[in-house]
């Protein structure tokens, strides 16, 4: 029996609630009890993916797409209606049309007078703002991705390091970025460095925590097996613990990136131009609500897209996840 037989579906399942919940899976070893899938919410686990997949097959990709589109259309229609009927002042809730216009104008040029044309917003096209923010997230989260697993490793494997620093990790995790951005600016200036720090501090704890959980979750026998094959402590670390932990680390990175997006406006409050968060904030201050909403939508879409990308790369990096 190969992995191809895993996560399969019956052509005519007498589907009921149970069917949607939890995948029915066959196991490579017959007497292997069906273990509950790991609770990690992030990596595509065969069970869940399989169950999604089954459902998706059942509904049909097309129907699913249609449904999503339908919801979107209904949403836009309601929005449009609310604004068209002037239930809310356009200044507060601009119509979908004017948000779209703001979006288009922010990505192009407008004539302000016969002699002058202004391009983008705040001297940058919106996509340039987005790229600037992506770069910052890239650096901040990037450093966290490098350091987080190392620290997580140390904390999980050296008792006193954990004892000493775990409280601070939990502490750090719940601090409001808006509260400490001022300190970061004082220490690191208003330039990109303080933004990197903020994004790093947002991204770091989830990755460390995920790594610690990953390391702690490594099966004892996995390690024993390596030791009995002559592995040194270092070899156990690099050949067994590290790869075992990878799925959790990737899950942690996904949480971290999501969290970094939620702090991008805070990071770009000061000297945040170019930057999509900075643009959202500045335009909000200037009561350019349509542009603010356009920015927020762009941030949301970029976040979803980036997450999908990481998920995909993760599944390439950890092809065995959920299978072994």
């Amino acid at each position: 029996m190969t992995s191809a037989t895993r996560g399969l579906r019956s052509t005519t399942d007498t589907a009921s609630e149970g069917r949607q919940a939890g995948g029915l899976t066959t196991h490579g070893t017959p007497t292997e009890p069906p273990t509950a899938p790991p609770g990690d919410e992030h990596l595509g686990q065969t069970l869940k993916v399989a169950s999604d997949h089954r459902r998706s097959l059942r509904i049909g990709r097309l129907r699913k797409f249609g449904l999503s589109l339908g919801v979107l259309v209904v949403f836009l229609a309601v929005w449009w209606l609310v604004t068209a009927l002037e239930w809310v002042r356009p200044l507060y809730l601009p119509s979908p049309g004017s948000v779209w216009t703001a979006f288009v104008e922010a990505n192009g040029c407008t004539e302000v007078s016969p002699t002058r044309t202004v391009c983008g917003e705040q001297n940058y096209y919106m996509w340039e703002h987005l790229i600037a923010s992506l770069q910052r997230i890239g650096v901040g989260v990037g450093v966290a991705v490098v350091l987080g697993p190392v620290v997580g490793f140390l904390m999980a494997s050296i008792g006193w390091v954990n004892t000493a620093f775990e409280p601070y990790l939990n502490f750090l995790r719940s601090l409001p970025p808006l509260g400490y951005i001022g300190l970061l600016i004082v220490w690191f200036g208003i330039g990109d460095l303080s933004k990197y720090w903020l994004l790093f501090l947002a991204a770091f704890p989830p990755i460390v925590i995920a790594t610690i959980n990953g390391v702690r979750g490594v099966r004892q026998d996995s390690i024993h097996a390596a030791q009995s094959m002559g592995a040194s402590r270092w070899q156990v670390g690099t050949s067994v613990v590290l790869p075992s932990t990878l799925p959790e680390v990737i899950g942690g990175v996904r949480i971290a990136v999501g969290f970094a997006w939620t702090t991008v406006v805070a990071a770009e409050l000061n000297a945040g131009i170019p930057g999509i968060g900075g643009l959202a904030y500045v335009s909000g201050q200037q009561l350019q609500t349509a542009l603010t909403i356009a920015c927020i939508i762009v941030i949301g879409l970029a976040a979803v897209a980036l997450d999908a990308l990481i998920k995909y790369l993760g599944s390439l990096a950890v092809p065995w996840y959920g299978k072994a």
Partner: protein, 259 residues
């Protein structure tokens, strides 16, 4: 309660669209009160068959029926014992055993009484108020059996119920099960990997072929009948009839597997 399969077959479709023919046309008739054991290589469709009988799965072909009624969904009249005990850890042992009765709206005092009886039957009197996770694997499995018994289904479907137990616990539970089956006259459909277990427990042993599964041997077991009395485990296993039957079944399985 009897059950029958008429030309039942099952195909699965994988994610990649591949069709897996898990169960070939299978017909079977099991009279009420019979203890049927099913053996066969891994992946031959034993569990599939059980899921169809339980009503978890509608076969892609043919009709499965219990007492002449087509099986369309799970029912308390067909109790299922899984390899894993599947107890609910948020309930005490007693509450677990009462659960089926509660689902069916039986009043509290009857529930309590029945649960106690059934727990006593499987040798767990006194453990009523324990947490399920405080029990050993064997005790959990017995609790599961008590839970199914409390519901008093006429058919009990068991999927390798003793597979995860150690040899000793396993033997004990086999004896318990035999006693219960005889006393309560249940119709039992019992899947196992162990040929010995099948021959020891069953009134009848079915051997299935590799995928697509079909019944390739349908053998009555009459050793105790031949000896005119119940034989205990050790005695039974030493009889030449037992050895012969066991070997015959093993051979059949091997043949099916030959490369």
């Amino acid at each position: 309660m009897s059950f029958t399969l008429e030309n039942v077959s099952q195909r699965y479709i994988t994610d990649s669209g591949e069709v897996i023919h898990a169960l070939a046309d299978t017909s079977l008739e099991v009279p009420a009160g019979e203890f049927v054991c099913v053996v066969g290589p891994s992946g031959c469709g034993k569990t599939t068959l059980l899921r169809i009988l339980a009503g978890f799965l509608e076969p892609t072909g043919g009709i499965a029926s219990a007492n002449g009624q087509p099986i369309t969904r799970p029912s308390w009249e067909r109790g299922v014992v899984f390899q894993q005990a599947n107890l609910y850890p948020w309930l005490t042992v007693r509450k677990n055993v009462e659960l089926g009765l509660k689902f069916r709206g039986i009043d509290a005092s009857t529930r309590r009484e029945t649960a106690e009886q059934c727990l006593a039957l499987v040798g767990l009197g006194g453990f009523e108020d324990k947490k399920t996770y405080e029990l050993s694997g064997g005790m959990q499995q017995r609790t599961q059996i008590a839970r199914v018994l409390a519901n008093d289904p006429e058919i009990i479907l068991m999927d390798e119920p003793f597979g995860a137990l150690d040899a000793l616990t396993r033997e004990r539970l086999q004896m318990d099960l035999l006693t219960i089956a005889r006393e309560r006259k249940k119709t039992i459909f019992f899947i196992t990997h162990s040929v010995e277990e099948a021959v020891f427990l069953g009134d009848r042993v079915l051997v299935m072929s590799p995928r697509p599964g079909r019944v390739v041997l349908d053998e009555p077991v009459r050793i105790s009948a031949q000896y005119g009395r119940m034989l205990d485990g050790k005695e039974l296993r030493s009889t030449p009839e037992f050895v012969a039957l066991r070997d015959k079944i093993s051979d059949t399985i091997y043949e099916g597997q030959a490369p």
